[in-house]
Amino acid sequence: MTFWKIAALNAAVAISATAAWAETEITLWHAMGGQLGETVNKIAEDFNASQDDYSITPVFKGSYEETLTAGIAAFRAGEQPNIMQVFDAGAATVIGAKGATIPVQDLLTENGVDFDITDYISGVRYFYADSDGKMIGMPFNSSSPIMYFNVDALAKAGVSAPKTWEEFQTVTAPALKDAGYIALSQSHLPWIFTENFMSRHNLPFATNDNGYDGAEGTKILVNNDAIKAHFTALTEWKENGLFEWYGTGWGDNATPFEEGEVAMWLGSSGSFGGLMKKDLGFDFSATVLPYWEAVTTEPKQTFIGGASLFAMSGHDAEENEAAAKFFQYLTSPEVQYFWHKETGYVPITEAAYELAKEDGHYDRFPAAEVGIQQLSLPGGDNTKGYRMGFYVQIRDVMNREYGRILSGETSVEDAFANIEKEANDLLARFAKTQG
């Protein structure tokens, strides 16, 4: 497998190295497969057709993790692409490596493109920014976890989508169970029930301002009573047939919803486009992520998921200019609206959001607006994002321990103690790599 990755890498490098004519050619490495990848290709083609000076070639590199690893390997070999897509969990690795990327804000202003961070919707503004609020990565495909529901199932049970977990527990879920449904499944425990649990309830996720102030001494704050109570509730719901967990895989948990067994599913706002294209056999809609009234009465916005685009350093001024122009094109309201419409990822600028509203997109598909509405909710001290190194591994630890909780192998208490310990060990190791 590794061999093929290296071979693919070499092939991509060989292709990108043949760029030598008047048009400045740049490459974009991304992790958007299937329908999403076709949309990326379309945007790149349109950009190439829109002018004669620059040409961008998108290259699909596999999963988010594989793309990051390929990009890092290429960087070490001095063959990095101009633009690389890095997912939320890899942000700390890339932003921590000062000198690997050119902050997108600097890239744009140096190349004469107007940049104002307040043009971006509040939920995406600072997730890939440094502690001073300078934007480092362009939040290209931003999503948020939202609650999809089977409209027919809820009507049959005579309930509406729950606003709080208390309501879910006492009203919605029992009614759905009586109507013959499993009430809930979800597709990403670390993202939906950990990271976004923290931001929705405005709880600190890590010391050092959620890790933004540097890797040194950053500790995770995951072992708290609110989240432990949430997971205890999950195990109870599971025992009572109100919630089901089908493993760590995304699709395994989405399929039962798509097949009408599960009435409500927590997925990504970016799943919207895919669900629309499937012939589901029932009407679906979506709403914002529920919260615990016992924890907060003022729920906040959520973190973004998905990924952002980073301009890699080590390229000449012409290529950097081309990258800047591509970013400019990408963030134009029309392109953002196109991307939003095709995929369900949120439009990242206010202007694009306005355009979508004017065009009546949300009158046709009200559920398409849920993600951006949730990201536009009031923010708090802990909602701008989190920055933790080796976070991919920390997520793996969470997935492992959560899986053990839900398959009855361990207790909530032990699992969170384990996550805290292993995550802090990893954070300490990461801090040393930055020395």
Binding site: I72, Y246, G247, D396, S407, E422, D425, R429
Partner: protein, 293 residues
């Protein structure tokens, strides 16, 4: 004894050179690099690098999870090795007795050999699918709440079954040729001495198969330890979660997913030592007791 000799030193060296270069470039150099980087903690992009001595190793030794992965790998290796050898031997002994259509049977039994581990993994995914996998349904029929990907034991069982299934043909080919190389005279002599087929098998056939079996034992241990990577990766769908993984898979996850090069290198070095021990064991301890004809 007659010895063939070269008249100059350079010719044999020149003839060996390509092979030596391949070994040096593809084995010694990366191995040396792994040993070196196992003593450092590196920034993934290669900017910062801190010498940490044996800390990567001590971190592993104190990490209870690494111990669990090692224990699982041991159990997994024992099960895969045992079942793939035992079943292949059984099939070979039976196929050896078949007279009519022997070639077709043998070909059918060897067929699976051509399947790549990830493909075997995909077939496993279909057979053990949570919702409509035939084997899942079979387990459920017998009252086992089998759930690939959600339950540790289910995934472990699927991994063992797929790995064994994939390995049987290799062992089968070797055992069959081993059986066929046993001289007819020996078999006939045994037939006169002992009328029990089982007795003849354990007293005569099996000892004569020992060199083959021993060779296969080593091959199968390394297969279970290293080559099942593709099967593991496919069955856990690159998201291990609470599913079992082997030591090699952990090297990959930490190094290539997590970008922790130092920690991952330390794990590789431990595996290299394991292979070294296995090799010494092969040549020193067991090889002496086995008589190759």
């Amino acid at each position: 004894m007659k010895r063939a000799g070269f008249t100059t030193v350079w010719l044999p060296v020149a003839l060996l050179l390509p092979q030596l270069m391949i070994i040096a470039i593809f084995f010694y150099w990366p191995a040396a690099w792994a040993v070196q980087s196992s003593f450092y903690l590196q920034d993934p992009f290669g900017f910062g690098s801190t010498f940490v001595g044996v800390e990567n190793y001590t971190d592993l030794m104190t990490n209870s999870e690494y111990g669990k992965v090692a224990r699982f790998t041991l159990i997994y290796t024992v099960l895969v090795t045992f079942f793939s050898l035992a079943l292949a031997l059984l099939l070979a002994v039976k196929a050896d007795k078949v007279i009519r259509g022997a070639k077709s049977y043998r070909t059918l039994l060897m067929w699976v050999y051509a399947i790549a581990p990830p493909v075997a993994g995909f077939l496993g995914l279909m057979f053990f699918d949570q919702r409509n996998g035939p084997l899942t349904e079979m387990f459920q029929f017998f009252g086992w709440e089998f759930r690939l990907g959600a339950d540790f034991n289910s995934t472990a069982t699927a991994m063992v079954i797929v790995a064994v299934w994939k390995q049987i043909p290799v062992n089968f080919i070797f055992f069959l040729s081993g059986l066929q190389s046993i001289p007819k005279a020996v078999r006939e002599a045994a037939l006169i001495d002992n009328r029990s087929a089982t007795g003849r098998f354990w007293d005569v056939t099996f000892p004569l198969l020992a060199p083959t079996a021993f060779f296969l034992l080593i091959i199968n241990i390394t297969y279970a330890l290293f080559d099942t990577f593709g099967i593991v990766d496919t069955l856990v769908r690159s998201e291990p979660g609470n599913n079992p993984v082997t030591l090699v898979y952990k090297v990959f996850v930490d190094g290539f997913r997590g970008n922790d090069l130092g920690g991952s290198s330390a794990q590789s070095v431990i595996l290299m030592i394991l292979v070294l021990v296995l090799t010494v064991f092969q040549f020193r301890l067991i090889e002496r007791r086995i008589h190759y004809t």
